[in-house]
Symmetry: C2
Subunit: 704 residues, 2 copies
């Protein structure tokens, strides 16, 4: 795989099919950019109508080329592309970029054309990028295989940021923003229709490039779960941040995504949870995506979230403290003694944190250095931030301020240094060269620092985590499955259900109930009745044997009325579960991301607030614990109104066990509903009160 | 008041006390800026040690000036300021700006100094700005009464944006950002310690200036409720937007705010609600504050939230649709017929909305015009947005694209036109001159457009709203008040409580209960027992007369054990209320913003989710309805799990009536708790089940 990308992004020779002499045309721009970029490989224009193209000798066809090029850029219209791909395949070209639109995104005809093209390429082992894409570039070797107008006025410099985008326009925009920010780019890939190479595979390759520290990705959805998750795992292991822009959040957006590309967008909530699970930072806006990538560019992450805020204006300090706290940073106060020391230096200063030296400090830069040094060394902050406002835009202050801060930071290399200031780019670049992260907006700085902390935590967790053990595989009967069957199967997988008796029709329910001990719950047991309460086939809090017999009769009668054709296995007799917090747990198959486990609180939390969360299966108990903690109503599980704390440890085990079961049976299990799962007080475990497994061979059963 | 500000911001003559010949010093900068700005009024440097200052004749003292200046800028240290204020007051100067720090923000001594200074000024009728501020400017007359370095490299041009900031540094930063964005400023005022003139009064004045369309305000808190709310009301009436940055959201921030200024920060949640109530847009970040002010600068607001999104890249379109929906805009699809028309023009386009013309449209600008015109006229959008990406940064596209869009917009003057694009400032300014709002970031554009819609709705509501009638004033006994007293008083104010009997100790509770009809609730009635349930002094669901007598006995026994000194008025007998949704309603006195009404859902909603909201009293039913709708659990009141919709109309009346009572008795009532208030199904009203009024003369009563 790696070698395919090498020909795509670092070819020794490139053919440009449809090469144009006009450097503003799609077939002309790549040539112009390759020349301007000083690309050292062979550039071979293919154009049967011309002797030369933009000063280079042109060739009539791929077959006429003096060498077999590593890669080809196909800048011909859709209807000529198939032939061009075939020519390349025959010649043994290893990869090709297809610029043209007019394929799968336009409907059935286009889709056929695209499929044809792919099978031709597959047969020869040639990889394809696109169609309907803007191409690639690799500034470190001056390779610009793109017709994007973003390079019209200025090329891109090399650097630590990899960019991969399904949307060419988005990729171009982000490249432009990175350039404006002074951020260099290691590789830039736009994947378009993704007939072959997709965003996931590109991420996987970029992670392995030593020059890439951080990857900015854009996608409306992904195609293949396994490639995608493998890429995310590789990135986390390499401790390289992925900053993701996933669109299609809203209903309108998702609809537009579906009409725009051939990819399945999947459920946004599931996608969102999976990114979180694998330590991918999802940006809410493009500006945030760029800000976080900028902060990650050096590959340095803070050991903790303790942030010291140095300011010369109280107002700015308060604002940054607000933002820092919102971003999950710890604006820890300076130790009392250290506050005294700072007060001695500058009596009017407020040295708590934010540490407000007041504007008077700028009149004495040596004082500023001593003051800031004392703040950093005694505050124990892993993140230092300073608010410089418009100060550095003044010629009188730009250098002295920077020098004073640098002197204060001397010997503090491991610390993150963030600044907010407004100044010309040239001044900003000087600060950056001294290792400062420079932001104009304090909120943006705080968010980016929060992202660094979050990413660091994810990397560290992963370092210490063992691989999630594969779930055991169990035989399952052909469905539909009754509640008792579902419980038996899940019980094998380690999910403990309360002891209960299945009493066949005609058996003595009163006797079975007496053996269990009262009060009991009675439920119909039938593979054909999924929603028992709705058909009056459940009785709770049954207090003696006679009542049990009577209730069983009522249940059977009700069931036969509502579902006359249902197979009846009997009556399930179960003990009343002890009090606890009601939760709901489920498994579903995301069309793209496969088996996912859902968790939420029961009752109004799920019904009114839709307070649920997801994880891709399988996952370990630690991940399950994070899942549990991220629901809004988590406090319910900590104990409210005098209730004892719930057994969240047992709940985490339960979720993790279920996830391993779900992963091991992804091919068979369509969905699982465990609703409710009652979480008992700490030490007493969880009690799932119902179980429903829907197998994927089931279709039109009478389940209601 | 207006005339005071005229001398402050448009003086005919200004004295600069502490004038310096060095144009980089605090006493030198204003002089330099006034000269550079071409200020036409008299500039009178006061410096006893020099003949001239920066080329202007200097005077030894205020008394030695040839004329009495309208205003004075005091650029002397704190210890000399008092004398300077006295000199100005004696000479009859009408206003003065005090730059120096070292007053109330530094402790008790500084506070005394500040108070002295204020009383000197007050005696002569002179208004003071500051101390500890950066001054003011009014670019339209070249008046720059500030020492801010933000003017070091470039002055500020006049325009429609007023800026008022408690923090000088923040104000300077925002002025810098506005300048960078090409936004002109009408007036700029920094209020610092606000010993006299504050942010609220400044807003009030700015609203009245015809050249000001929008006001950007920064404050950590406000000092005076009445001035503040009057200013907000005036702004809303004038339909001028206020974009507010209020800091001190977080605990750390609020602590820092308290240490930084002498102002009371108040509860952030209350402040936040009051801004919403009065139609002030609260920005979360400085970038957002600027973005929204920029969008408001023209003073044009969209009649509806229907937005059409034109894009040449599907990816960007999806992203903007996501953002638009999140910002409360309606990404309404094009009518089917119109979609067909657009498809005819460009067969590959996706004309639903986002309307994706694909990149091919740029090859034919006439087509682009026809296509966009059809989209606007047939889509019925009040907001048109187009995503141009890096297109306009290319010299080949900047003008043709703009001209093509302008041609399409011909005759569509009332529509908001928003663009996202990346291009040099000169290109952006050209688009802006043609009436386009230009953003680099789509999320920022969507948020700003959402803000325009929100502001417009607030203006319109206000146009149609009658003034809230003053609540009637009732006599209240000296506290503490018992539940029965509280209910009686609130009952007078129109809040209906269920009929109930107060049975004195020794009376027949069984008889009273029988008269009401079973089941009933029994509660102790005592002014000294606020939390009845906790002391076992409540019995619910009492089903017959004997049970009632027995329960009453238990209650009296329990009360005498837990609160032996409590005065006992007797036992309250009330009917069991019908089923409904439990809510909590309360009144509290915000230290700054005065009487506020709180509303939330009862039970876990308030205990776990803190799902409550506030409004300043008084307010009308429509405002109460918005209050009700903004809690997260609002769906509970619409009916969940088959429950009928609740009587939110009655609830809104209840809240509004309570707010008028709270406002009319703000001097007496410390707090009111109505918990729970049960909201019955639509048409059946609300039932407050308990009432507690705490009067503010109460102090250390035994209330638990």
């Amino acid at each position: 795989m790696t070698s395919d990308f090498s020909t795509l992004l670092a070819p020794r020779s490139v053919a440009l099919v449809g090469a144009s002499d006009d450097p503003t045309r799609i077939g002309g721009r790549p040539l112009r950019y390759l020349k301007e970029g000083g690309f050292k490989g062979a550039v071979l224009p293919v154009n049967p109508k011309r002797e030369t193209v933009q000063g280079l000798p042109a060739f009539a066809s791929i077959a006429a080329l003096p060498v077999v090029p590593d890669t080809a850029i196909l800048a011909v219209p859709a209807h000529l592309t198939r032939q061009a791909v075939e020519d390349c395949a025959q010649a043994g070209v290893k990869s090709a970029i297809v610029f043209s639109a007019g394929f799968a995104e336009t409907g059935a005809d286009g889709e056929r054309l695209q499929k044809d093209m792919v099978s031709i390429a597959r047969n020869s082992g040639m990889r394809l990028l696109g169609p309907n894409c803007l191409g690639v570039f690799n500034p470190s070797i001056g390779y610009f295989g793109t017709f994007s107008v973003v390079l019209d006025n200025q090329l891109i410099t090399p650097g630590p940021v990899g960019i991969v985008s399904q949307s060419g326009a988005y990729g171009a925009h982000v490249a432009h923003l990175a350039r404006k920010r002074g951020l260099g780019i290691s590789h830039w890939v736009t994947t378009g229709n993704e007939c072959d190479i997709d965003v996931a595979e590109t991420i996987d390759w970029m992670v392995q490039q030593p020059e890439t520290n951080v990857i900015m990705a854009y996608a409306e959805g992904v195609r293949d779960r396994d490639t995608f998750i493998a890429a995310l795992e590789r990135a986390r292991k390499a401790e390289k941040a992925i900053i993701f822009m996933k669109t299609g959040r809203s209903d309108v957006g998702a609809e537009a995504a579906a009409s725009h590309t051939a990819s399945l967008a999947g459920s946004d909530a599931v996608f969102d949870a999976v990114l979180r699970q694998y330590g991918v930072y999802r940006a809410a806006t493009t500006a945030e995506q760029l800000d976080v990538a900028y902060a990650c560019a050096s590959g340095i992450y803070p050991p903790s979230n303790r942030v010291g805020i140095f300011t010369m204006s109280g107002g700015f300090g308060i604002q940054l403290a607000d933002d820092a706290e919102a971003a999950g940073l710890d604006v820890a106060p300076m130790p009392e003694a250290a506050q005294g020391k700072l007060k001695e230096m500058l009596p009017y200063s407020s040295p708590r944190n934010p540490v407000d030296a007041t504007a008077q400090v700028v009149s004495d830069m040596d004082m500023l250095t001593r003051y800031v040094r004392a703040m950093i060394t005694e505050g124990g902050y892993d993140i230092f931030t300073a608010i410089l406002g418009t100060g550095p835009s003044s010629k009188n202050f730009a250098d002295p301020l920077r020098n004073a801060l640098m002197a204060a930071m001397d010997g503090q290399d491991g610390k993150i240094r963030g600044l907010t200031m407004s100044a010309p780019d040239t001044v900003v670049r000087q600060y950056e060269q001294d290792g400062f992260l420079v932001f104009e907006d304090g909120s943006a700085l705080a968010r980016a620092l929060g992202a660094l902390v979050w990413l660091k935590q994810s990397f560290e967790r992963n370092r210490n985590a063992a691989e999630v053990a594969q779930g055991q595989r169990f035989d399952m009967p052909k469905g539909p499955l009754s509640e008792a069957q579902a419980k038996a199967i899940l019980g094998q997988a380690g999910l403990a259900f309360p002891g209960e008796h299945l009493v066949p029709v005609g058996g003595d329910v009163g006797e079975a109930a007496s053996q269990l001990g009262f009060p009991v719950v009675l439920k119909i047991c039938s593979p054909d009745i999924a929603h028992k309460t709705e058909v009056g086939a459940v009785a709770v809090n049954v207090r003696d044997a006679d009542a049990a017999r009577q209730a069983a009769e009522t249940i059977l009668k009700s069931a036969s009325e509502h579902a006359p054709d249902a197979r009846i296995d009997g009556i399930l007799v179960a003990p009343m579960a002890p009090d606890g917090v009601e939760t709901i747990v489920g498994v579903m198959q995301d069309p793209v991301l496969g088996p996912v486990v859902m968790f939420g609180l029961g009752g109004i939390f799920v019904e009114v607030l839709k307070d649920v969360t997801f994880r891709a299966a399988p996952f370990d108990e630690a991940e399950a614990m994070r899942m549990i903690r991220e629901i809004r109503g988590f406090a319910m599980l900590e104990g409210v109104r005098g209730a004892p704390p719930s057994d969240v440890e047992a709940l985490a085990r339960f979720l993790s066990d279920l996830s391993r079961f779900a992963a091991a049976h992804a091919d068979r299990v369509e969905s699982i509903d465990l609703n409710p799962v009652r979480v008992l007080p700490r030490g007493q475990g969880v009690v799932p009160l119902d179980a429903l497994i829907v197998l994927n061979e089931e279709t039109a059963n009478d389940r209601d």
